[in-house]
Subunit: 165 residues, 2 copies
């Protein structure tokens, strides 16, 4: 994230939240110790602090480490846990109507997410930055999955309605 320019840890977290927040997040309890470690390893250094704070900036070694990380095979993301799906799986034992409620509230969350992805898409598409296409691709990922979720919802409701009319 420091390729965007020198930043304090606090600022860094804001930047993370407003750009890669949909698929990556860091807490302060993680950020500050990590920054110290990176400083020890010579990958970042404290820039001249104008005012009170001391922002961090990338060193040449840091830029090199970034390139190395980009070339490394990404951790194939584990499926993670999805409690809603677990409830669907055992749905036969649920009181009537309960599952439908879970699914409909899920759809509402997906629709809200779709709206915010669309806003973000417009925002990214409009800007003139060398990063533009890369960022757009990550937004399209979010959008594609949210839309898949909405399609699944419709199908799920149809299938389950047959079951218990």
């Amino acid at each position: 994230m420091l390729t965007h320019g020198p930043m304090t840890g606090y600022r860094l977290r804001e930047e993370i939240g407003s750009s890669v927040g949909h698929f990556w997040q860091e807490s302060f309890g993680q950020l500050y110790p990590t920054l110290s470690r990176l400083e020890d390893e010579g990958l970042v250094r404290r820039a001249e602090g104008e005012g009170r704070s001391s922002p961090f900036e990338l060193t040449d070694a840091g830029r090199e480490a970034l390139r190395a990380w980009l070339a490394a095979e990404p951790e194939s993301l584990s499926p993670g846990r999805n409690e809603l799906l677990l409830q669907v799986f055992f749905g036969r034992h649920a009181p009537p109507g309960v599952l439908r409620g879970h699914l409909d509230r899920h759809r509402a969350r997906l629709e809200a997410a779709r709206d915010s992805y669309r806003d973000l898409e417009r925002l990214v598409a409009a800007q003139d930055s060398p990063d533009r296409t890369y960022w757009l691709v990550t937004v399209r990922h979010g959008l594609a999955h949210v839309e898949a979720g909405l399609g699944w919802h419709a199908e799920a409701v149809a299938l389950l309605d047959e079951e218990m009319p």
Copy 2:
């Protein structure tokens, strides 16, 4: 999972892996302590052990707890972390071709996952169980998301190829 019948902890984990494994997984280090806790709480009990092992079975209180959990609002799943997307986001700094390699290997993994979901779908669709529809819905979820991922891959490659022809 004990609604399927009494089971040992070992068996339970196998069952988890082969049914809800795509969206939920448990390790032994988690399973055995949890079973002990559930026994203390009176939600499961050790069934008559035919042979060496002592399988667990649901108590009435356990079945009631299952219904209560099914009615509870599911933990809205956190976005999680996706290292591939992070690499795409910072892709401008990557050596040429590297990103494309990551994406193509990702596609191969998705295609393999799609195949195994399709197999599973046939398997579930063919069986005659009161749980059939519920299970099918969870499989369709996996399939929908894998297919969304494949669509995204094609789009991503197209967008990035414009960028660096």
